[in-house]
Amino acid sequence: MSQPNLPTPPQQSTPQPEPEVQQQPSPVQSQASPQTQTLAQTQTQTQTQTQVPTSPTSAPENPASVSLVNIVTAITTDVPPWQLNQHLKTFAPKEVRDVVLASLLPDGQDPLSLLDMQANTLGILHILAARLHTIGAPNLPFEYVAEFCQTFVPEQARYTPEKVTLLAVGIPLLAEVAGNVALAIQPLLHLLTRYAPSMSHLTTIHPIFLRTCVSTRHFAAALPVLAYPITIIDTSISDLSYNDNLVYHYAGGMVYAALKRWTAAQEFFEICACSPGSASAAIQMEALKKLVLVQLIHEGKTTPPPKYIHPVLPRLLKGTPYSAFVNAYPDRRAELRSIVEGELVFTTEKTLGLVLQALERAPRWSIKKLTSTYLTLHLSDIARAVGIESVEEVRGLILDMIASSEISAQLSADGTVSFFDPPVTFKKEDVDRVLARAQEQATLLACLEREMARSKEYLTKAVKGKEEASWGAMDDDSGDRMGSGLGWVDDIGFS
């Protein structure tokens, strides 16, 4: 956990170094002056003196401090990490800071080579973040970053979440320069697993990691992260935006869909589509479309989304070919096919893959429906009901479905198919496991409820609610008071 008294760092956008911004070595600074030319190679020298930032902490405040050597010294001296972080964030104006941090030492030495990855995690983070995002910064070996991701000290890194974000953003870029974006996956994974206090925390690294996995099609690599559902959002650990949550769950859905793990894909797409908000994002619409398709593939029908979904989304979906596709699914195959062939939307929106999978599985769902109506049926009857011309094709399909235990049936030589009820088997362990999990959940919920009942927000609202209700009770009956009391609980939980 981060230090509680740590001030929330100001949001820092990616530094955009501009050529006109000058780095001026101080004339009084003896050790730096001869080498400053090399130090700020990319910069043109001017005479203007950069303004010394106001540093509230114990950091040295003279202009001389604006040099990498001093900074390296500051990093290596033994000060509390939060103090160091404060210093590193404020020793010079933003642009200057990044340029200094991204530079080399006067003697051409790489400052990183002087620093210890474990002891100086915080300093290295600052230098890495600056170097990854400064144009013309000295070459940063990919291996160094990869090693850092494996060895850094998370506790230190958590003092400066925004630098971690910058590092994470920079890793895929660096990997691209190194020739293969997929190289970024491993370092990102290390960074993520080590930085997050627990795997249930959402960090800004999550969406970056998953996007890298998805865009390089290394879907399986994402599974260790996806296996832990996100339950904790802590903005002091990571400077999250709502988009991080959306992108993470959307990309998670993509990973699972690509691996054909439909149940999990459904859950991720649903989380993305149903994330709270006063408006709806385009990515949520995309998630909803994919959710619908995945549901068709996996269950043969759609289930209505939870009612807390933003109402605009289902309404928008209604006008699209997706909706027409869902309505015709699975029995009207000719119509389905004409929708798929007639619409370019699926290609332009890159959902054609899922659409085709759904289309391919349509006859299976039709057959499955038949099993609940019939005990025996001839292959030709099935072919007619499903709308497939050749009996052989149906035979193959049914054999495949029996083999994958989608249906339990028997195919006799004369072409009669007999359906059975699927055997239901339960082991005691299964039941026990489910029970244990349910109890776990109940405890968790009870805890949360107690926490909530203690929270200041709830108490103020509840007290206010009670006052209002007692006013209302003068002309209403007491049943109404109950209602408003419950309303408050809902209010806090879901709105």
């Binding site: 998805v214 099609r217 006063s278 408006a279 939870p306 893959g353 109506t373």
Partner: protein
């Protein structure tokens, strides 16, 4: 339900529409139908026109009768409508041999012109009257003028205007209701009935209250003239109207219970004969009941209902239908129904619903029949219902798919088997599934809660764009990857 917007031209259209689903209704020995007897009790030209349009075999006869009636009325548009209906009858294959309309009736052009003129004159007169009353602000006279104008429009067939004026006049609501039923605009009936009910309430209150109260309440005005037994009569008229509106909206169960609760025929007053015959009520009530109610409900509400049996007396075959149904003799039931199908199809209120009602009845019959069996061969069912084996199979499969029959079909051996459910396994399965569902829902909701707690919610990029959601959607941040 037919969309009847009672503007003259549309009435004509309605009959000239090429019959898509409607077929010509045969009238022959197998489908007995006595036109004279049917019409004798009612004088609605509408019904005759409906018959003309759908039964080629008796179209000339019906057309002649219709014209006899039309000449007694003042609605000239009906002449056109009648001719159009006849023409549409002639389009049926069975109607090819029909004599041209000129041979059957002679359109009296002079009459048409004269009546049109007279109508116009009267309307102008009434409108002038209304205007002057409005100027004089005499409430009572305005009301009367509205009523007169409404009655006039009604007589000349312009139901929309009539309704407008009658509503304005706040005449005792049963009048405007009567009108709504005539134009078969079922969806409107219920709202009028509520109004009328309210009017009734206020009436009773007013009459029991002081005399001044009655004088001030405009809606209570007519009641002061009406003695109390008439109140009951109006009430039963309202009940009937309500029942009819339920039937019109395909709400058979409610319609059935309302029909079965109707008061004896004499309570309906002048509506009997003018609007509906007791026999009709018997048919409507019985069919709705058979289609929607359970056996025990039918027994309690229909068979042991002395009032309703008075209605049934009017149409003896209805009694046969009920008897056959109650003794599970479904073959006879369906036979009788199909025998009298013409009678039902050409009824203006029932016509559009016969198919639905019959379908309901067939389904309940099949469900009832299968109930005691664990397995049954289709040929036995076919014999019991008088259907072919394919028909039985089709019906049964449809019922299984909508969940009415818990069974499965052995299509090879043509056997229907009841489904055996292992309740214990089912329970376990359900419990496990619910557990998983709840867990995942919990997780999702908790995440949602956390997101909201730290205000990590989706926001519009700019406040000005808030209205324009599509704009918002254009700012997609995500590279989309195809999963093919």
């Amino acid at each position: 339900m037919m969309d009847v917007d009672p503007i003259d031209s549309e009435i004509a259209n309605q009959y000239t529409q090429p019959p898509r689903r409607r077929q010509a209704r045969p009238v022959d020995d197998a489908h007995p139908f006595d036109l004279d007897a049917y019409i004798a009790s009612r004088t609605t030209v509408d019904r005759l026109l409906a018959i003309t349009a759908s039964c080629p075999s008796i179209a000339p006869q019906a057309l002649k009768l219709a014209f006899n009636h039309i000449y007694r009325l003042r609605d000239t548009s009906l002449v056109q409508a009648a001719l159009a209906a006849y023409a549409s009858a002639a389009t049926y294959p069975e109607g090819q041999g029909l004599p041209p309309p000129g041979d059957v009736v002679v359109v009296d052009a002079a009459w048409v012109e004269e009546v049109t003129k007279k109508n116009l004159a009267e309307r102008t007169k009434l409108e002038v009257e209304l205007k002057s009353y409005t100027n004089n602000m005499i409430k009572e006279s305005i009301r009367m003028a509205h009523r007169d104008l409404g009655e006039h429009y009604r007589a000349t067939g312009d139901f929309a205007s009539a309704l407008k004026h009658l509503t304005k006049s706040r005449e005792f609501c049963s009048t405007s209701q009567h009108l709504v039923i005539e134009q078969r605009n079922y969806s409107h009936i219920s709202s009028y009935i509520y109004k009328a009910d309210a009017a009734l309430e206020s009436t009773t209150a007013a009459t029991s209250g002081s005399a001044e109260g009655a004088a001030t309440a405009v809606s209570a005005q007519p009641t002061s003239k009406k003695p109390s037994p008439e109140r009951e009569q109006v009430q039963s008229k309202l009940d009937f109207a309500m029942a009819l509106s339920h039937l019109g909206q395909g709400n058979y169960e409610k319609a059935a219970s309302l029909f079965l609760r109707l008061d004896p025929p004499d309570q309906l007053g002048d509506w009997v004969g003018k609007l509906v015959a007791p026999g009709d009520i018997a048919i409507y009530g019985t069919l709705c009941a058979l289609a929607s109610l359970s056996r025990s409900a039918i027994k309690a509400q229909l068979l042991r209902n002395p009032v309703f049996s008075a209605y049934i007396e009017q149409e003896p075959y209805v009694r046969d239908v009920i008897q056959a149904y109650m003794s599970s003799d479904f073959k006879t039931t369906l036979d009788i129904l199909s025998k009298y199908s013409t009678r039902h199809y050409i009824d203006i209120h029932l016509g559009t619903h016969v198919n639905d009602v019959t379908q309901h009845l067939r389904q309940t019959a099949v469900v009832l029949y299968f109930q005691p069996f664990e397995t049954i061969r289709f040929d036995r069912m076919a014999a019991a219902f008088g259907w072919s084996i394919e028909e039985v199979e089709r019906e049964v499969v449809a019922l299984i798919q909508i969940g009415q029959i818990q069974g499965r079909v052995d299509s090879q051996n043509k056997i229907l088997r009841a489904k055996k459910t292992d309740h214990r396994a089912e329970l376990f399965e359900h419990a496990m599934k619910t557990a998983l569902d709840i867990q995942s829902t919990n997780r999702k909701l908790l995440l949602r809660m956390r997101l909201q707690q730290v205000d990590l919610v989706v926001k519009s990029p700019k406040i000005t764009l808030k209205r324009d959601q599509t704009q918002n959607l254009l700012d997609s941040p995500m590279a989309i990857v195809d999963l093919s």
